[in-house]
Point group: C2
Chain length 256, copies 2
């Protein structure tokens, strides 16, 4: 049975894709079987993990809206043990296209049921929104990973995000639970970063991962090479923190 | 007749709100009459300009979906010459609620018609999405301001954004035009930033503002005090660049 994680936060640019890609890659490098699913029309995770967008045929769109089996969209990545379901710009219309469909909230969940036995971890990257597409991911997932950027604006959307998770848990997916909150882009030099860390820790307590991902330029360079950080620069602070976070995720799985 | 600007980019965290709030504030400080409209359910611009969310009654939601006149939602800011139409979390459902309404794409445009004579500039902040809410803003606007973060992932969504602007121009708003592309969060120390600047300049040529906004911690601290940068730290690099950008926007207006 796979551990299914949704990486969610409607605030933009907080490190969702960076966290999804790098946690997935670190788990695979540790020998775990992982499926990374890109459910964001921007398809940043698809590029960040090194897939060539021009050669992709079947995508997550076909599985959620096109009635195709999800396994047709699964492609291997350059990393052993890591498969990917790519996204596509066509997904941009999904929030509207899903509105009038039967069981519109659980189409990803049913698409997943045929493949989840093959993987130990399924990591799903979301768009910066709380629309039907993100609801699909929250309905399909069992755990939620919330990246929070160490910035003031990033604090503002948290209560809305928690309300949405709670709503999905109550109405669509009773087993959904927040696994970890991960602080990202921490800049040790600024008081703002420290204030945000303190505030998030006050708010979420034990749920906050002890691993705080620092701002590290190597993390933002890696996607332009289509590589996760552990392959782009294994000795960087970014690689170190995502390795540590992946180890924590493995421990979290062992306790369940 | 007001110059109506939409600040748009579906990539998250690229500096849309920071640009909308600070350009609006710099224009007001220069004595221009400005209306800042927050059309993002996260309501970051509402907080960033210093409004107290708990005391807001009428919002942009009431004007777009509630049939209330927009002037009922207009509140003064702490800055002379700068009024604000605040946002609200209720706006999160707008993309879905708008679907079945008559003239769903031009509700903001008609709401604006009763107030636009009072302002020289109307600056509208968007959510990180290209849904019906953002389409409403593009239909109401005459000009588009595109902030692009100096990061690799930020380059990926540009063609989709341009397609959407073109679609709105063709079908809904023939006068819509891209006024400026603004590079944000430039880090002079990294090659990545320089590569992105070169790539964006190659792609957009003259449209790219000569003002490149540097990464500047004072810009990310200012919202926690509810102040635009020119009031929070007028001598900072962030204030300097937004003053320059606002001056460029004024010159752009004079040429029209
Ligand atoms: N720890 C970090 N240090 C430096 N740069 C980072 C870090 N994490 C992410 N980035 C960069 O910051 C930008 C935003 O991160 P990312 O795209 O992962 O956020 P996101 O939440 O997925 O954005 P969106 O809301 O658009 O989906 C990217 O350009 C990324 O490369
Ligand atoms: N030039 C800058 N230097 C440093 N920090 C910045 C700069 N511009 C913006 N920021 C900070 O970066 C974060 C993202 O910026 P902002 O929220 O304005 O982007 P956005 O595009 O409006 O995000 P969203 O997609 O969520 O609406 C914010 O915390 C902001 O304070
Ligand atoms: Mg992303
Ligand atoms: Mg914003």
């Amino acid at each position: 049975m796979a551990f299914k994680f949704a990486v969610v936060n409607q605030k933009g640019g907080v490190g969702k894709t960076t966290t999804a890609v790098n946690v997935a890659a670190c788990l695979a490098v540790a020998g775990e079987d992982v499926l990374l699913i890109d459910v964001d029309p921007q398809a940043n995770a698809t590029t960040g993990i090194g897939l060539d967008k021009s050669r992709i045929e079947t995508t997550v769109y076909d599985a959620i809206l096109g009635g195709r089996p999800l396994e047709e969209a699964i492609v291997p990545s350059a990393i052993p043990h890591l498969d990917v379901v790519p996204s596509t710009l066509d997904l941009a219309g999904a929030d509207i296209e899903l509105i009038s469909l039967i069981s519109r909230e659980s189409r990803l969940k049913s698409a997943l049921s045929s493949v989840e036995e093959r993987y130990r971890w399924i990591i799903m990257d979301c768009a910066p929104a709380l629309g039907l597409l993100t609801i699909n991911v929250l309905t399909a997932a069992r755990y939620v990973l919330i990246p929070i950027q160490c910035e003031y604006y990033a604090l503002e959307g948290i209560s809305q995000l928690l309300k949405t998770v709670e709503l999905v848990r109550r109405e669509l997916n009773p087993s959904l639970e927040i696994a970890r909150v991960v602080l990202t882009m921490f800049d040790y030099r600024t008081k703002l970063s420290q204030d945000v860390v303190r505030e998030v820790r006050d708010h979420f307590g034990e749920l906050v991962s002890p691993t705080v991902v620092p701002r590290n330029v190597r993390l933002s360079e890696a996607p332009s090479h289509g590589l996760p950080i552990v392959l782009y620069d294994a000795r960087s602070k970014g690689a170190e923190s995502y390795r540590r976070l992946a180890a924590e995720v493995i421990r979290f799985g062992q306790e369940r």
